[in-house]
Amino acid sequence: MSATVKKAGFGATLWEYLTTVDHKKIGILYLVAGMFFFILGGLEAMLIRIQLIKPDNDFISAQFYNEVLTMHGTTMIFLAAMPLIFALMNAVVPLQIGARDVAFPFVNSLGFWLFFFGGVMLNVSWFVTGAPDAGWTAYAPLSIFSEGHGVDFYAIGLQISGFGTLMGGINFIVTIVNMRAPGMTYMRMPLFTWTAFIASVLILFAFPALTVGLFLLTFDRLFGANFFDPSMGGNVIIWEHLFWIFGHPEVYILILPAFGVFSEVVPTFAKKRLFGYSSMVFATVLIAFLGFMVWAHHMFTVGLGPIANSIFAVATMAIAVPTGIKIFNWLFTLWGGSIRLTSPMVFALGFIPTFTIGGMTGVMLGSAAADFQYHDSYFVVAHFHYVIVGGVVLGLFAGIIYWWPKMFGTMLNEKLNHWFFWLFFIGFHLTFFVQHFLGLMGMPRRYWIFLEDQGLDFFNLISTIGAFFMAAGTILFLYNVVVTQAKGVKVSGDPWDARTLEWAIPSPPPFYNFKQEPLVRGLDPLWIEKTEGDGKIKPAEPLGDIHMPNNSFVPFMMSLGLFIAGFGVMFQGSYWILAVIGFAITAGSMLYRSFKDDLGYHVHKEDLEDEKGDGSNG
């Protein structure tokens, strides 16, 4: 590991990525894996839409439709949206707070590999006995009595990737609490860092409920426990509660970082500081707090009783208040700004109305009495796609395009980005706007076919056409990525004329991020230096040795062990040997880790002085 940029062969690069503990490289790993699963989930979505292009279609079988539908939801939430959010958090948060890495670089790598192997495990199911088919919510008792091993793959695969997510969450909380640069007080943190912080806190308190739920499901299916088997005294509502105690905070885990992205993009391209910064922070915290008290609005029709339903309905509608604060703050930031319509900004402008529609249907669904009508219809499908695609996915793409120069040192083609936006955005509204009406007409979600002459044919056709637009947009984006990286034209450290700390260092940043710890003098530190100083961040310490963590292959092995063990637990019998081998690999890796001191290494002052640049973090 030398301080200078090196050209490495394929093998060396691969090994570097398998063992890396550098948050920037782990961010790239998350990005690549997340995009892979996003495309996979997108293909599954296309299969669903093609099947529903006309009444009584027989493009795919009913069983396969159930599998595709389940895997589309599971993949998109756990294997695409989550890792893409972690990709942005890894790439950006340490840079925004002026840290040299995350708090636990080793655990960061472990978190990625656990997620990755969990995702691979889920998708291995396609080739072994069939994929999970009980819906992404895996409601009991359907999930208990589902045949084959599909749901076992669901339970164990999500368990493994859930551990990874939990670790990632803790890692970012500690990073933000302990590793902010001098002067970076909590109320000077960029909004993306704030939302990453709050989302990580939500991960910490929401994922354990899923962990327990998945364990109970696993024990029921594989070891004869009776949690969800009513004939043995079990209660299926327990699963619903545990799933949604996790599941509702989960949607805030997804949307809050997207809010954070827009809160970075809008001020940058309106050339104004964010309107109402402190109310934005307050709204974020309030959403998180309320987000824990609304889960039962997914269960209005279960029959929890009018009192419980009313409490959860009121709490649900209350969330519209902080969300509204955010929407207005973005609008007021735009007001009077000198707006540049770059592609991230266009995504932000597309997001605001789209998400507002999703929010309004959310309030509609939140009124318990009306929900009995909407429940399990395409109205719900339309609602959550408006908030998740219209909110999270637009946010992720805005973030990926916005921080692409910081991650890779190149600039995606703006023209193609705009084309991508319009294809995707128009396609999205074509696909999902009509689904509101399909739902209100009574088309239930998750059905394999619909009958003709019920007034559903035309809207379903439009919906499918829209899906093809979205697919075309995504392909265009991938083409853009390939072309941009092939050309490899380098850009400066601050190509957007932006405001926050990450743009004060070169693109991509050196592996130690900041040569000297930066001194932060206020909100939007780089902008302060641009307007009041010489445009360069002042160092907070003299040039000195930098302590860096060692690379390690252990996280990969730990995750691989659990992956192997999962198959043993699932197939049992003579396959128990796999569980023994797998757990032995994991336990052995953990012992190896604790018995070998890992003190890291130092980059010496003399080597840093040789580095290019004027030593000013610029």
Binding site: A103, F104, V107, L166, I170, N171, I173, V174, V177, N178, M179, L204, F205, A206, F207, P208, A209, T211, V212, G213, F215, L216, F219, D220, F223, G224, A225, N226, F227, D229, M232, G233, G234, N235, I238, H241, L242, I245, D545, H547, L591, S594, F595, D597, L599, G600, Y601, H602
Partner: protein, 206 residues
Amino acid sequence: MADDMLKSTNLPQNPERATLEGRNKFMGFWFFLGGETVLFASLFGTYLALKNSTVDGPAANEIFGLELVFLMTIILLTSSLTSVYAMYHMKNNDPKKMQLWLGITVALGLAFLGLEIYEFYHYVHGYHFGYTTSAFSSAFYTLVGFHGAHVAFGLGWIISLMVRNAKRGINLYNAPKFYIASLYWHFIDVVWVFIFTVVYLMGKVG
């Protein structure tokens, strides 16, 4: 600097929080315990929802024997105190005494685990109260078993720390590790306090 990490002299007052790595571990572990709280709450909630679902199997007040539970409780509470003693000696930079008290903690932990295994064995063979007997039995074994698994993991953790550092003193590198292991051990005790109250005592009361 790397050498300083492994030096055992002139330790500051809180060696576990003297370095950034130490502070990170300290914070991260506390946050993890916050998450564990929700994990056990989910298990407790499940248990409370299913505690009367005995179907044809035995009910709580038919099988629980308070003498054994009392003994287990006292053993685990005592082990919590002994791990405090270990941390006391760690802060005084006295590795031998720390190891000794950690050894006592481990011994008590093993005794607890042994009694728990005996208890489960007794239920299964004496009362035909197996894991699959009823929803209640599944919930009981899962909740108490999760706690037992935490005890077992904690024992493995403390033992490997003791072995790894048997021949060297306390330094800024290993002090945070000992400290968070002891936090973990206290947390196990915290959970047990609720288990003996909610599961055993309330199960006996009815």
